[in-house]
Amino acid sequence: MYDAGKIITGLLVFLVLVTTPVWFNAATHAQARAPQLKLPEGVTACVEPTAEMRASHMDLLNEWRNAAVRSDERFFTMPDGKVYEKSLSLTCLKCHDNKEEFCDRCHNYLAVSPYCWDCHVEPKGGRS
């Protein structure tokens, strides 16, 4: 190989430069900032435990959608006897009334763009 010294040195410099952010973060112990969600006030529990909701709220919404629209099963009873309607607009958004500071923050962080809002109307709290 001609100019092996120059090429290898160049490659090494390139590698160091490209991985700089990794070294920098490792040195400063920086961590990715999780999105700060604004939780509804005065409400302590959702229809499922937080971890469950965080991981699979989209599955729950899909189930609700199919049950309500296709099977006309619109209501469900919680173990404590409370009756809820299977509805994004009428149940979820009644508590989570700020889409921008709840739904959007996480969805933007993860770069997902659900199309719920093409049709379902976001509550006024989410509009500036």
Partner: protein, 257 residues
């Protein structure tokens, strides 16, 4: 075993026939669902239907209360371009609504006067048969429902409906809705929509929005499967017609004339 040219063709022909036969078998085994005729339903079944009193409606020709109520309840856009119009409930001249039940000497009270029209929620709905995604289907209680999540906008149903009851969203409807009711979704561009007999209100034991809004009692909604229901008693006591009955769609919207 040796097969000569003649024998080979005979065998090949038989084989081809056998294949064709086997292919057609599933078709014979699963015929398209036969049109179910409206029955009396003594088992307490539910079959929603509507009776429109044409005369009562004509007493106040300019009245649009039911249309306005429906527009508000379902976030229906008011598009200026008539080609893009979205309609759930509207009025058309009698002759256009009942082309099979009219003639040139029709009585003055009906001739050219508006009749209220909306989805007939047919017992044998042609729109359902052509929908490739089952985005529209007939519920047990007879409502021809739409699942807008599933609609791919192919417009087969628009072509299939002989009553023009279905509208396609050619443009994004959001900006053409005066006041959006957040309790009901809007639709999006590329989706077909139509009257849903207010299934969202029925689920809460409420009458459809148009029925509640009518100040003249011209609309009666009820269970056709119950022989003692108001709709059945009305149909028993007065002469009624349906739209384009010869098409065999069996509309469940009846007009008292």
């Amino acid at each position: 075993m040796t097969v000569d040219r003649r024998g080979f063709f005979k065998l090949a022909g038989l084989g081809a026939l056998g294949l064709a036969g086997a292919r057609s078998l599933p078709v014979l085994g699963n015929p398209a669902p036969a049109p179910s005729l409206p029955g009396p339903g003594p088992d307490g079944g539910v079959r929603w239907g509507m009776v429109v009193d044409l005369r009562a409606c004509l007493n106040d020709e300019g009245c649009r209360d039911c249309i306005v109520a429906c527009d508000h309840a379902h976030n229906i856009p008011q598009l200026p371009d008539r080609k893009h119009e979205v309609k759930w409930i509207w009025k058309d001249p009698y002759e256009e609504v009942f082309p099979m039940q009219t003639h040139e000497y029709l009585e003055d009270a009906l001739h050219g006067h508006p009749a209220l029209v909306f989805c007939n929620h047919c017992d044998n709905p042609p729109c359902v048969r052509v929908c490739p995604t089952q985005a529209t289907w007939k519920r047990e209680d007879g409502i021809v429902m739409m699942d807008w999540h599933r609609c791919i906008g192919c417009r087969y149903c628009v072509a299939a409906c002989p009553y023009g009851s279905r509208s396609f969203n050619w443009v994004d409807p959001r900006s053409y809705i005066e006041t959006i009711d957040p309790e009901f979704p809007t639709r999006t561009r590329g989706v077909v929509e139509k009257c849903n007999f207010c299934d969202e209100r029925l689920a809460r034991n409420q009458q459809p929005a148009c029925v509640s809004a009518c100040p003249h009692g011209a609309l009666t909604f009820g269970n056709l499967a119950d022989p003692t229901s108001t709709v059945r008693l009305l149909l028993k006591s007065r002469y009624s017609i349906r739209r384009k009955p010869a098409l065999g769609t069996h509309p469940e919207v009846f007009y008292l004339v």
